[in-house]
Symmetry: C2
Subunit: 238 residues, 2 copies
Amino acid sequence: MNNKYLTIYNDLAEKIKTGYYKANDLLPSESKLMKDYNVSRDTIRKSLNILTQEGYIQKAQGKGSFVLDINRFTFPVSGVVSFKELGKQLGKTFSTDVKILQCISPDKNVCNYLNINKNQKVWKIFRTRKIDEENIILDKDYILQKFVSDLTFHICQNSIYEYIEDTLHLKIAYAKKQITVEKSTEEDKKYLDLKEYDMVVVVRSYTYLEDTSLFQYTESRHRPDKFVFVDFARRNKL
Amino acid sequence: MNNKYLTIYNDLAEKIKTGYYKANDLLPSESKLMKDYNVSRDTIRKSLNILTQEGYIQKAQGKGSFVLDINRFTFPVSGVVSFKELGKQLGKTFSTDVKILQCISPDKNVCNYLNINKNQKVWKIFRTRKIDEENIILDKDYILQKFVSDLTFHICQNSIYEYIEDTLHLKIAYAKKQITVEKSTEEDKKYLDLKEYDMVVVVRSYTYLEDTSLFQYTESRHRPDKFVFVDFARRNKL
DNA sequence: AAGTGGTCTAGACCACGCG
DNA sequence: GCGTGGTCTAGACCACTTG
């Protein structure tokens, strides 16, 4: 990465994660960091702003930048993160089973979700996610075929995001998400090891590309006892 | 507010919300906005960055800033927002019942949540939230007494956040949140109209002040069918 | 008084999209 | 080639904290 401020952000974030800077430590002052990295103050401030946004530090006028305690942040479902990336970050044994992979003419519901008409083909992908030998999550993905002409079992087994970003070079920009809890359906019971639970946590995501086109709708259905969502939020006035 | 960039942000956000700028419109270019508001480019860019962050716009190099469709964002539980603020934004008929308000020596669990020892007094506040004549949410708040010496039923009935920020002038900076789904307890059944549901959605929040001191732990317990969480997330590389 | 972060400015150069 | 946003710089002044 040739960006100075991103490089500095990553460097500082790494130093916080590895404990070089510890919770409640003060980061070096902005003028000190300017000299250390040999950049202008604005560049340093850009880096620090991202650290603030991500919950790494808290700034205080007249005092400095305090390192926050991030040890409660181990399950970052917030943000736009794929299942494979998640697994990597957690180091747990996850596995994925591709149940359905087909290119279809969408039904009414899917048309509605993706805001298209039924002549536009979409990929329909159902995958189950296994943790400790139990099927915990059912992911139902619908992806506009015009953006992704080919998909294989192997790609779905691996990471669709990786393929889309690294191979197709599509740029995912943002997502809208909604979390609710609903009665489990026959489909849920078919694909998941629901045990005694008769409800599932449903995470609906609409994913958009950089040019603001909606290209994917995902419904992620979780067994309630294994669902956790962790969030860091700053108070915004006005 | 004397901040230029916040003023401009609010002005533009207002124009998007009221439909002066519509979805898929291009915002005026940065140089145009510089002239319109008679400020430097950096100030404009600060405003646009917040709009981007909050999901109002999407920028594209060489093209401009596109207005996004925000109509799916009607329930902003994300961010640090209090119940009263929420009610205002939704225009629905909510009501709050204060069930418990006392200053206690905390038990082991609360000590653990707030990272204190049992000699520190805390306010214990239980409130139920009613929507359409049903008790849907049970809020269990624990607030360090050293920050808030006095609390009344009237304040709790209204908005604790309002009192803390506007009257005590404490500055709430950020919060960590966790969402899970759990079996309902006897307490839940006592305070809520749970109908046939035997599970509740539990939102645990740790709220921090600007000086990074943890001052409040809240457990918000929701009847599952009425729970919605909406989030906007940008994809961050690296 | 000295040091910290917060805001604002003016100017430079680059990368990208489009005609 | 022109206009757009993206990055970076250097300098100014202010507000706040601490000694």
